[in-house]
């Protein structure tokens, strides 16, 4: 009997020891929600997914995090909030991920974050710009990416510098579009109350925007602002151009969504792109930390494509999480949230810290670098476009070329 019990103890000790070793080598599972099939933006989803995979490989090649490899568990949301919500639920309850990253659509972040909040799992928002995401004040939410208020401030400052008196924006019917269009109005009221501003909400799924555009022909505004994403934005831009409204000698076309950075921009926009002023979160002429080049080169080697803003946003999302995991030396959600709050990490775009203020600043990296550039030729690469606004400096109208 004694022999049997000794054997049982030995077996238990051995198995516990083996299990301990296995745990140490077990991958750290990180949940990813991205769009991989229509109707959402698969272009964005693919850029984010590729960026995350590049960084996960770099981390794993360097020995992982605390000796454990990073494993990405990817869920396709199709760009639909209900799928994002279900995807996050599955990632947390079935796959046991330690955090969620990757989401690139505000509506989906707003859906998925509710689930993460319920389970107290950290959620790194890769590209949800809606201020409502921050204003919820959830402790699990961290935003190392752009936010609508930032674009609204940038757009309002640029419009004022352009000397505009009348501005019309076309916004898509999403949390992102309506939120940003309203934000631009509020900022304009604050910095240039003399400017008349209104926005029209357009359906993303529609193909004919002429009934909304035609009334502008009789009295064109000084600036038309795009607050839409592809492919609808391309169709709207072409129709605005075909009606002779913008870009034109009278009217600037300001793109608040950074369209010129999209890989399919010139496949879909021809003359309508010439003269466009673009709010950009990435431009090859921007100064960036050395890590940006390493990540950019790895991305180009993997995909054959040039680096883009979503690559760097995705990279920083995972790098910030990996940094927090290292400092916390734990995957416990509470310890991870605490470590994320104390983040001071130089990623691919600069030194990232998270604000502790409430409202739209909640857990937000406030100093997101941005530029404004102008497209001066049809088919022009972003790298060849002139910068008309450097990071931290106002727009310089003397550098602008009238279409």
């Amino acid at each position: 009997m004694r022999y049997v019990s000794h054997l049982a103890i030995a077996a238990f000790t051995l198995s516990a020891s083996l299990a301990g070793n296995a745990n140490a080598a077990d991958p750290i599972k990180v949940g990813v929600t991205v769009t991989q099939s229509p109707p959402g933006s698969v272009v964005q989803g693919t850029q984010v997914k590729d960026g995350l995979e590049v960084v996960a490989k770099m981390l794993n090649d360097q020995g992982g995090v605390n000796g454990r490899p990073i494993e990405l568990v990817i869920e396709d949301t199709q760009g639909l909030p209900e799928k994002a919500r279900a995807g996050v639920e599955k990632l947390i309850t079935r796959d046991k991920v330690v955090a969620i990253v990757g989401e690139h659509q505000s509506s989906n972040v707003l859906a998925g974050m509710e689930v993460a909040h319920r389970y107290h799992i950290p959620y790194i928002n890769t590209n949800g710009w809606a201020d409502a995401i921050r204003e919820k004040g959830y402790p699990e939410m961290f935003n190392p990416n752009n936010y609508n208020r930032r674009v609204a401030m940038a757009a309002a400052d640029s419009i004022k510098k352009l000397g505009a008196k009348k501005v019309v924006a076309f916004a898509e019917n999403t949390d992102y579009g309506i939120g940003l269009a309203k934000g631009i109005g509020e900022q304009l009221k604050a910095v240039a109350p003399e400017i008349s501003y209104r926005f029209d909400t357009l359906d993303r799924a529609a193909k004919d925007y002429l009934p909304a555009i035609l009334p502008l022909r009789a009295d064109p505004p000084d600036v038309v602002v795009d607050v839409m994403l592809p492919p609808a934005a391309y169709i709207m831009m072409n129709q605005v151009y075909e009606q002779g409204i913008a870009p034109s000698a009278k009217t600037w076309f300001y793109d608040a969504s950074g369209l010129a950075d999209y890989p399919d921009f010139w496949q879909n926009v021809k003359e309508a792109g010439k003269g466009l002023l673009v709010f950009g979160l990435y431009h090859p002429k921007m100064q960036a930390p050395a890590l940006a080049k390493t990540v950019g080169d790895a991305y180009t080697a993997k995909t054959g494509a040039q680096p883009n803003r979503l690559l760097y946003q995705a990279a920083d999302s995972l790098l910030v999480l990996a940094d927090a995991l290292k400092r916390a030396n734990s995957t416990d959600p509470g310890a991870l949230v605490k470590a994320l709050e104390e983040t001071k990490y130089t990623g691919t775009r600069g030194e990232i810290t998270f604000s502790k203020e409430a409202g739209y600043k909640n857990h937000q990296w406030l100093d997101i670098p941005y530029v404004t550039f102008q497209v001066t030729e049809i088919g022009q690469k972003v790298a060849d476009t002139p910068l008309v606004e450097q990071p931290g400096q106002p727009l310089d109208p003397s550098k602008l070329a009238r279409p």
Binding site: S37, P38, P39, S41, V42, V43, T46, N173, D200, T201, L202, D203, A205, A206, K207, D208, L210, P211, A212, L214, P215, R217, A218, P230, P231, Y234, I235, N238, Q239, Y241, E242, Q243, G244, P263, D264, Q267, N268, V269, K270, E271
Partner: protein, 300 residues
């Protein structure tokens, strides 16, 4: 403020949009008239046509006057294959199918729609493509309106095709056969008309017309995997407004919907533009359920 110039602009734009709706909706009306089913994959024929034209014209450099008929033939061939493989059980003498005919049609066409969207998404990619325009002018003055050259050219081709379809249905043997089968399938069969061949022809023609609509508009709406969803919804509304299965009804309803949407967007609000058709649909279902040219019922 609705000025005279803006009203003329809206009228021209509404009529042209209506023509494009018509090209899509007439195929759907034909299918319903002959097979008595609603084809939920109709929008995907539009998408396939947009891709066929874009790839052949832009990637392979085929002349546009060849690429356009190619898109029509590609859609027609796909329609023929779908009819042969998926639609035949609806009217073949398989006893068990008769009881669940409607369910089968809904499920199989809905499944086909999902299949085609995801197939194109994976095989070609999610990126949108703008096809080369039939005419190089980006702006053309049409009376009081300013339109893209492609839209004017597409409207011209659409008018010509719709006229050809009308002549075909009115005067040709197969056109008369289509009308006979849509009136009474059994009666037409007893009169010696091959109803199965007519079904095949109609599905091919509808597929070709939807594909042609997609090809004509691909330089304006940009081909993407989900591009067919919106015109398909419009087509369903039009077919009900015009009277299920009625070709003249579908044509008139298309123009009506184009005009209502165009003016409604300015007079009411652009945000409600896509609800105008649905409001019309509800009003028709309440007060004239047979549609503009449909019949309440038919006895033989």
């Amino acid at each position: 403020m609705l000025t005279g110039a803006l009203a003329a602009d809206l009228a021209v734009n509404g009529l042209v949009t209506g023509l494009f709706y018509g090209l899509m909706a007439i195929g759907l009306a034909l299918i319903f008239g002959v097979l008595r089913i609603v084809n939920f994959a109709h929008g995907e024929f539009y998408m396939v046509g947009a891709y066929a034209y874009t790839i052949v014209a832009a990637r392979l450099g085929v002349p546009l006057v060849v690429a356009l008929p190619f898109a029509f033939l590609f859609g027609a061939a796909l329609g023929w294959v779908v009819e042969r493989t998926l639609m035949r059980p609806l009217y073949a003498n398989i006893g068990s199918w008769g009881l669940m005919r409607d369910e089968y049609a809904v499920i199989v066409t809905f499944g086909l729609s999902l299949l085609l969207v995801n197939l194109v998404d994976k095989a070609i990619g999610p990126y949108a493509f703008r096809a080369p325009a039939l005419v190089s002018a980006s702006r053309i003055v049409v009376g009081p309106a300013l339109m893209s050259g492609q839209k004017v050219a597409a409207a011209g081709v659409t008018l010509a095709v719709l006229a050809l379809i009308a002549l075909f249905l009115r005067f040709s043997y197969w056109g008369r056969a289509v009308r006979a089968v849509s009136q009474n399938r059994l009666g037409a069969s007893l009169a010696g008309i091959d109803a199965t061949a007519v079904s095949s022809l109609v599905f091919s023609l509808a597929g070709g017309l939807a594909a042609l609509a997609g090809a004509l508009l691909s330089p304006i709406i940009n081909a993407s995997p989900d591009v067919g969803a919106f015109p398909a919804i419009k087509s369903y509304v039009i077919v009900v407004l015009g009277g299920m299965g009625s070709i003249p009804g579908a044509f008139i309803a298309s123009l009506l919907l184009g005009l209502v949407e165009s003016f409604g967007a300015v007079l009411v609000s652009y945000q409600y533009r896509d609800t105008f058709g649905l409001v019309l649909l509800i009003l028709f279902l309440l007060f004239r359920p047979q549609g503009l040219f449909g019949e309440r019922g038919r006895e033989v």
